[in-house]
Structure formats: C-alpha cells, structure tokens
C-alpha cells in the first residue's frame, strides 16, 4: 500500500494527518503538482480527476478523494475513532466536515486559484472573484470562531476528521491564500493552537 502525495497541497495533508492520528505508517510517493506530474497519462489512469492524494492498494487498484481514503482506513482501523461510531455521531461529524469543506476550505482554495501566480495558465483566473473569495474566507473564520465557542473540538468532545479539515483549511487560508487570522477570534485561536500542537500536525 502507498499514497501518492505532494507535501505542499492541502488535500494530501488532510490524509497525512488522518494517517498519523491513526498511528499508521503508509509509504508516500511524491508527485510534483508544480511540474504537472499529476496530469500525466500514467497518473490520470490512477485518478481520472487528476487530483491528489491517491491510495494505491496492495491489489494494484486505486482510491482517490481524501475523505473516501480516510473512510477506507477508518473501516480497517476503527480506533482511534475519527468519523463517528453510531448513526447520529457519524452524521454529525460528516455534517461538520462538509460545512468546513464547502465553506472555509472551498473559499480558500478558490481565493488561491484565482489570485496566485502558481495557477496562472492552469485555469482561467478571475482576480476579482478571487478577492470576493478572500472576503468569504474572512467571514467563514468569524463564523467558525462563533460556532466553536467553548467546545474543545469542531464536532464535539473529541478530535475528528472535521478538526483535520478545519486545521488544514485555516493553515491554507493564512499561509497560501493571503488571509490574516484576526487575533480577536479567541475561540478559533485556542482551538487552532490545540490541534496544531498535536504530533499529527507535523505530518
């Protein structure tokens, strides 16, 4: 089993943190997105959507989509639990994971894609759209701060995949998409410090 990975991209990081939290060791093979290696015919045969990460199973088949790969690993290694045990918990965690994906994470991704030099020529950039997405990121960070409140973690009382998505989204927004983290967002700061100091944050 191995994972096709690219250190700087956000979705591969989501999987690396998940794998680290599970205490698993899966070899990584780097695929250089800057050099377009994810779009060669060989890689498109593994994932026709062209994205990373990709899990290559021992039988040679491939799984793409970071959350789908996480779901597979959760099924094989249920502890520590990251995606919920009973029906209600699974739904609740999935709801939060998706809220972060569709809100903060997507907006940060679009802000980056439409304003960063790295994406010039990869897609048609709309800089004014990118700017509106930065505003959306700022709103989403405020919203998340309010939603976190006094909760220790995003989806309740223990660390879950929703925290991983949010952690990667916040880091991507502040490090790559040019959004500053307002220090007045005290709940977000407390939560971010806690998840960032877990060993998995270095994965």
């Amino acid at each position: 089993m191995k994972i096709y990975d690219f250190t700087l991209a956000p979705n591969p990081r989501r999987l690396r943190i998940f794998v680290a939290e599970k205490g698993l060791k899966i070899p990584l093979e780097q695929v250089d997105i800057f050099a377009g290696e994810n779009r060669t015919p060989e890689m498109l045969a593994k994932n026709p959507a062209g994205g990373l990460p990709i899990l290559e199973l021992d039988d040679g088949s491939h799984l793409a989509e970071s959350v789908a790969i996480c779901r597979y690993l959760e099924g094989l290694h249920p502890e520590p639990n990251l995606m919920g045990k009973d029906s209600r918990e699974q739904a609740f965690i999935e709801m939060w994971n998706r809220r972060i994906e569709l809100g903060l994470f997507a907006a940060a991704g679009r802000a980056f894609q439409h304003t960063n030099e790295l994406f010039k020529g990869r897609l048609k950039q709309f800089p004014e759209f990118g700017a509106t997405q930065r505003e959306t990121v700022a709103q989403q960070l405020q919203w998340l701060d309010a939603q976190i409140g006094n909760k220790p973690f995003i989806a309740g009382d223990h660390f879950t995949i929703a925290d991983i998505t949010a952690e990667v989204a916040v880091d991507f927004a502040t490090q790559m998409a040019g959004v500053k983290l307002d220090p007045a967002l005290k709940n977000l700061a407390r939560w971010h410090k806690a998840v960032s100091s877990r060993p998995s944050a270095k994965a």
Partner: protein
C-alpha cells in the same frame, strides 16, 4: 422527526430520492428560498449555514448537509445499501459520490449561481466564471459517458448515492441548458435507467 426543505432546490431532492429508495417516510416542511426564509434568524438557529435540507430529530437536534442526512438514514436502516457494502466499497462509493459532486453538480451549480437572475443580488456574481463552470460541467458529462461504458451504475454494479448526485446534477443543468446529448450513448442509457426508477419522482 421532519425535514426542512424546498421542492425546487437540488440538494433537498438528493435526500428525497435517497429516502424513497430506502422506503422511509419523513414529513417535509417547506422553507421558501424565493423569499430567503432560509437566511432569517429563526432558521439560522436551526442551520447556521442557512442551507437546505435540514433533518430535525425527535430530540430537537438538527443535522444539516444532504450527504450527512443520508449517512444517518443509511446507518439506521442499512438495506437497501446505498453507500457501500463493505469497507472498500464504502470508500469507492464515497469517491464516486464526491467526484459527481465536484465534477458535475458543483460546475452546474456554479453556472447557475453566477448567471441566473435568482442569484442576482444574493451573491457577487461573476458571469464569466459561471460560463467557464458551465463549459467544465459539459466536459465532465462527456467524461462520465466514457466511465459508464464498462459499468451499469456510476460506482460499479450497484445503484448508489453517487447515481443520485449525478441525476440531480444533470437535471439541475436544465436551468443553464445542459442535458445529456444523444451521442452520449452510455450516459443516455444510465440516465434513462435512473430517471425511470420510482424514486426519481420524489
């Protein structure tokens, strides 16, 4: 238990079709998107993101996000399986569901969001981005036609949530003139099959 929804919006339809396939009956309560009732304070207490559908459980708590609602019902009533039959299949179905969301539904939804009169004033529209999204959606339908050459349903031999997502995405494409082309034989075959299931009318 009830579900807040709006008949004409795409995401609520994903849950209605899912529940019809499961044979589960849940009362629906309409929230009017035309008058932006989903953005008023009473509704934002129920779903702070303001989206539909939202499941209200008997204890008064709420689950938002259509796929999370589907997951809840899949776990309490596993048969017929719509989200995978074992660890690997669950991941394969999730992968294809997400691909249908990103490649088909999102492109079509972004096209609508950025070119429709409905969204004028609701979001800052960038018309050209809407048109690029529409083009991307059409290209992905061409790709989907090739995917369906060697399989009956999107994730493989079984009908799953991925088929529901793609069906709703393509139907929502009517709003921007997107449809299955006659020469897309595999896609047309699949579309006919999923559209003629009783659940498609939910």
């Amino acid at each position: 238990m009830k579900i807040y929804e709006f008949t004409q919006a795409p995401n609520p339809r994903r849950v209605r079709v899912f529940l019809a396939e499961k044979g589960i009956n849940v009362p629906y309560e309409q929230v009017n998107l035309f008058t932006a009732d989903n953005r008023k304070p009473e509704f934002l207490k129920i779903n702070p993101m303001g989206g539909l559908p939202v499941l209200e459980l008997d204890d008064g708590t709420h689950i938002a996000e259509s796929v999370a609602i589907c997951r809840y019902f899949e776990e309490i009533k596993p048969e017929p399986r719509l989200m995978g039959v074992d660890a690997k299949d669950k991941a394969v179905v999730e992968m294809w569901n997400r691909r249908m969301e990103f490649e088909v539904l999102w492109n079509i939804a972004n096209s609508f969001r950025h070119t429709s009169d409905f969204f004028k004033g609701r979001i800052p529209q960038v018309k050209e981005f809407g048109e690029v999204s529409r083009g991307a959606g059409l290209k992905r339908l061409e790709w989907l036609d090739t995917v369906l050459a060697d399989r009956e349903f999107i994730a493989g031999p079984r009908y799953t949530i991925a088929d529901i997502t793609a069906l709703i995405g393509i139907d929502f494409g009517r709003t921007t003139g997107i449809k299955v082309e006659e020469n897309q034989k595999n896609l047309a075959r699949w579309y006919q099959a999923v559209s003629s299931r009783p659940s498609a009318k939910a």
